[in-house]
Subunit: 276 residues, 4 copies
């Protein structure tokens, strides 16, 4: 009892340590981007027998986890993912968690990671998850629509370059019978055109017909849909009537389209806020 009675006093004596926290509010009127990257995912992919060059189960699980992030956290207007990374864009004027960088990035990292384990079975079925995976995150600010689009273009161009390389590399190995180091040598110094040529002339593959999921990555956006339901109602002293109720709902759509050109942005005018 003696100790206890002084415990509130004791706590208040220590409470000064709170003042060591620093403010990391994000500059206003900027897009806040949180990007996650898988930790040691090369090894993770091997240990879980991911197919090469792309494992659709793994990509779908990434996207399922990203959807969970968008549904749980406020104000994410677009997300883009490829390979073992995902970027989340908070709207320019968001005031979620008072724009504190640490809160935003840890929340995203946490929700994504718990979702990855939670939904694993939906995509990998009986194949066991061997250990809890990790993702790291960072926050980057973009002051203009132009900068934000260039950021997303950068990630999609990265997806393209990596996927083209990986597609040729694994085709040479899996269908061409080369060892991995032979395939590496073969591709050293080749340009994109050379790689397309190898695919086409040696394996009759037109890269542009490959899966857009692999070539373009996944873009998550909010889409409004009208949902109509019919209800039967009966008012007193009247006949029963059927009426149709239409509600607008927001749903996440997963797209595999180009987001570098203008078309996507013209079709989704609500993602960007004006530069003002």
């Amino acid at each position: 009892a003696h100790f206890s009675s002084s415990s509130i006093m004791a706590k208040s004596k220590f409470e000064y340590v709170r003042n060591f926290e620093t403010d990391d509010t994000c500059l206003r009127n900027c897009y806040i981007v949180v990007r996650l990257d898988g930790r040691n995912f090369h090894k993770f992919a091997e240990q879980h027998n991911f197919t090469k060059p792309n494992d659709n189960r793994a990509l779908s699980l990434m996207t399922r986890s990203a959807q969970s992030v968008m549904e749980e956290l406020d104000d994410i207007v677009i997300a883009y993912g490829q390979s073992d990374e995902y970027s989340f864009v908070f709207k320019r004027s968001t005031n979620w968690f008072k724009r504190r960088a640490s809160k935003l990035m840890t929340h995203v990292a946490s929700q994504f990671s718990s979702s990855y384990v939670f939904y694993w079975r939906e995509y990998f079925g009986e194949q066991k998850l061997l250990y809890p995976p990790g993702f790291d995150g960072r926050v980057v600010l973009y002051p203009s629509n132009h900068n934000l689009r260039d950021y997303l273009s950068w990630r999609q161009a990265d997806c393209h370059i990596n996927n083209l390389y990986n597609t040729v590399f694994w085709t040479l190995v899996q269908r061409g019978g080369l060892s991995t180091s032979q395939a590496e040598d073969r591709l050293k110094g080749t340009l994109a055109a050379d790689k397309n040529e190898i695919l086409f002339s040696e394996f009759n593959i037109n890269y542009n017909n490959e899966s857009p999921l692999h070539r373009k990555g996944t873009t998550l956006v909010w889409e409004k849909t009208d949902e109509s339901t019919t209800k039967k109602i009966k008012l007193p002293q009247e006949e029963e009537k059927e009426i149709t109720v239409t509600r607008t709902r927001k749903k996440i759509a997963a797209l595999t389209c180009d987001i570098i050109g203008d078309e996507f942005w013209e079709e989704h005018p609500d993602i960007l806020e004006n530069d003002s």
Copy 2:
């Protein structure tokens, strides 16, 4: 093919967006503390029928997840948890991830969250996890041993105050038959001594005999243990011999002791580095 050949050029055109990343290196020679807090855990606890005032399965799962963090991430020298929060202390001189705050806190948040889901079944058995939970994190720096100890003392004092309150509150409700609002009224304005008195005189409970896990929270530290194994070896032209091999291994120990006083720190002299 045309598009592809220009893709590397395209990517390099966008790559300037990298320069918008800012450096968030933590000041050197300071302890780096990452604290996680459960998001909406009040609701989470209700939806998963946590027992009141403490659910040992939930506390154990928190500690299991914290252990996973300590094992996976480098340079954490001590961790302290209570309720739905856990603090991780990186050693003063750590250079893990170049001391970048965002990397440190997102890695901790991610590893903890994926572990929480991964190990759920070990503690909750057949009771289903209904949705992936979230945790937010922050980084705080402490420049001296004194400051760090005060930080940990602050959290343990907080544990004590909350647990005493919750213990009396739920005893009044569960055994005293009060409604929750009656119990709240009853406790309004009471000091620690009053609460101890209620427990003792009305319910014959000596608070100091309550579970140390609940009163003190959990402290995780690295402990060295000597592991001896015997091997039979047989050298050529000699008889078979048995020899004993002793290896020193680091293992995480979960303690429920006081960490405010000096005793704990004298017994664990390796946690703190000198103030120099």
Copy 3:
């Protein structure tokens, strides 16, 4: 000699302290504003007998010092001053001092302060400067043209509000014979319209005819002027000729116009860079 020979070694032993410096690079594609404020200028004004409500010598000296800042430091595109404060706007894409906030603000504060003392005599003649004055500074980033214009509008609106108040206050005191506390009472709760009315009906002053320097503050911009000089040249075997050489030079212009409305910005299209 013994000590000396080890001095480079000694220095390198200490050099690790450099790593404690932190990076404070300003986010790219934002306007960087440095605002200076006089330290204890109320007292400074009294000790140097500044006239009330405005001292033209003091205002001119502020502007002379601001000009010195613009001439010495790179990439300042506009400056705005009133009373004892001055704001300097670095161009959006500046890379001066690698956009390091500390360098930018200390350079501005330093150059302004040394200039203030250096040019004092030009404006105050035989009246002695009693002690070296101080100015503090801060850096603020603005991500869009709109935000930057609102910042400058905010400062000019502040100038207007203060100057209207001060004009009425000191007119009541100097010409109306009120004590300072009587004047304060008289103005308590009055709106701008009331203050205009007092000036007009009691003192026959139309506020809008007051000096624009006092009502609008001073805006410094770069202006291009063509300077023509005539030179006599004589080529071999020819007569001497007079030729006119025209050079475009950048010069600072001090304006006292409105910068809230669009007109100023339409007339000076080079100050802002596109929001891209």
Copy 4:
């Protein structure tokens, strides 16, 4: 009048721009060091005919300006200067300007710069200051006494190394008749011992007897002195008496001693606060 009446409204419409200011509070329980460096002082020295290798007038003016900083700004416990730089150390527990880095560094830069011009004539007499000089500044935090001492040792070791070089270099030029490029060649690759040897054997100079001001730089500390004054007092119905009144005053002392070793710190135990 119409415009005026809406001006407060107008101002409040713009006032949101305040929220773009970011918090740059310095971590608590750390020493805050502000270091100033002359801008283009090589050129400044030439234009003002500074004597080589050291100009005592210039060094004294630097120190006079630093004294002005210490007298005007609160909580600076020690300052160290050499060549065209000066470091100011705020006490570990200072709360001056709420520890805001921008305020601390701009105030120091401003006060130093205005003082430099203000006191110029005291040291350079009739030699005119040609233009207002500039200094840039930075803030660095040190979490322990050990780190702070290493910082100051680093600066004093730097002073030593530079001064030894400059002393030999200018002796070779001024007394040895070498050109500056010959002197440079001569010194390429020499160690401290070699430089001492050149001075001693060729010019009969014992470097250790050179001016401590040049070898050690200047350290400013607060010193307490007892000032005694005698006053005659006469109480009613008594004889006149003489009494002695002793007052303790703080005064700045300028030292040219070693601050790398322990002796200085043992003699000035009040500068450092305990590592706690």
